[in-house]
């Protein structure tokens, strides 16, 4: 579904991603773990070109997203993204947040988009919040709305950039629940997270990133129970889960 070929990303003289090649298949639930500064978020953000790769290719739907001539906006409609800081549109109500892109990009009529939005809001139990502004929601509610905002575009793959890192501990669970449901429905997901429990339970593949490379990967069992890489062993020994 997404094929990453020789992906490199430099920030100035600093090499953040070092020649990564990887394939993400349809239905994969890829969880990316690793120490901070290892390039996890940058890797994720390169997948929909929120960061332009310095070199290399990202093939999605048969086109190279790293190619500047490709209509990136068209492809982003099929790649949902959820941010650490939620980034709900502050000047729009919850309902408008969800319907804005589908209507503006002519994927749906206003009525269709509204019906779909209510259906999604029902799923996350926030139907009664449709007409409030994001400033009135709790962090967990904001993130759940942000997830369904991305889902409203019916994406083929969902990217999650540390979706629970900015949440109060009490609210982590409700967001992970929504993500688990999504995984069970067969959505292709790439998740950068520090929630090792989630990685074990939901992921079918775990990438361990260190110094801009994927230094180890495998099933959750392989990575968590039988880590081979010394840096990964050290990382896991320091993480409480």
């Amino acid at each position: 579904m997404i094929e990453i070929v020789n992906l490199c990303k430099d920030f100035g003289k600093n090499r953040v991603l070092d020649n990564i090649s990887e394939t993400i298949n349809e239905g994969d639930k890829v969880v990316i773990i690793g120490p901070s500064g290892s390039g996890k978020s940058t890797f994720l953000r390169c997948l929909n070109c929120m960061e332009d790769p310095t070199s290399g290719s990202i093939f999605f739907d048969g086109e190279d997203l790293a190619d500047m001539k490709v209509d990136i906006n068209k492809h982003r409609q099929n790649i949902g993204m959820v941010f650490q800081q939620f980034n709900l549109f502050n000047n729009k109500t919850v309902l408008e947040n969800i319907t804005l892109a589908p209507v503006l990009l002519k994927k749906m009529t206003k009525e269709q988009a509204t019906d779909r939005a209510y259906e999604l809001l029902r799923r996350i139990g926030l139907e009664d919040k449709a007409n409030v502004y994001p400033s009135t929601l709790s962090g967990g509610q904001k993130q759940r709305v942000a997830i369904v905002r991305a889902l409203a575009m019916n994406p083929k793959v969902m990217l999650f950039d540390e979706p629970t890192s900015a949440l109060d501990p009490e609210m982590v669970g409700e967001v992970l629940e929504v993500m688990k449901d999504l995984a069970n429905e067969g959505m292709t997901m790439v998740v950068v997270t520090h929630e090792m429990g989630f990685a074990k339970e939901v992921g079918n593949r775990v990438f361990f990133m260190d110094e801009g490379r994927i230094t180890e990967q495998g099933t959750p069992e392989e990575v968590f129970e039988h880590p081979k890489n010394a840096r990964l062993q050290e990382f896991l020994s320091k993480v409480i889960y």
Partner: protein
Amino acid sequence: MDFAGKFQVFWELFIEQGAWKRVLSVGLVNTLLIAVLGLLIGIVLGTLIGAVKVMPKYKLLPRILDKICSAYVGFFRGTPLVVQLLLTYYVLWPLMNVSVSSLYTAIIVFGLNSAAYVSEIMRGGLLSVDSGQMEAGRALGLSYGSTMMQIIIPQAIKNILPTLGNEFIALIKDTSVVSFVAAVDLYKTFTEIGNVRYEYFMPYIAMALVYMVLVALITLGVKLMERSLRKSDRNSQSL
């Protein structure tokens, strides 16, 4: 000094002979027209210039536009408003071989001048909107332009509303120079009253009062507008 006599003369002209009608229906109306339309042009044009200023600059077109906008802002902030009025009325129009009334000239020049100042206010307003808002829009597949229009600019305008109020007040007061190009504003109508008997003492005191009341009213209006904006925030919270 014969205050009573001066007052008597002013009263006669202003009230009894009805000069106040011209002050209100021509002077005040033109002053407001120039300031309000000038501000509107300024907001539209200034928003465009501000948006160009905050555009990412790795392509050629934004870089060229940015240079043009910098030159524009440089000219309109670097020369006095009166000079811009005179240049437009006595140099630009004759060069273009067009005849534009002094009132329209004033509106246009005030709009162009205001755009330069509003663009800087707007640039600050745009930069004050969290960058995550743009990222969220782009990640959904919206273009830079539609994210700007739908998400960033509305939030920026809300943030800079009080500063725009100040710009409006400045414009109102600056209209007092439009008589340089023969436009009739508040200043001109009061001067006309003075010209009748070469007695300017009272007319100019009255003029100052009118400007002060005008600015006080606008200040109040901006305050009410701000409060209602904040109230809508609160209301939405209690929903």
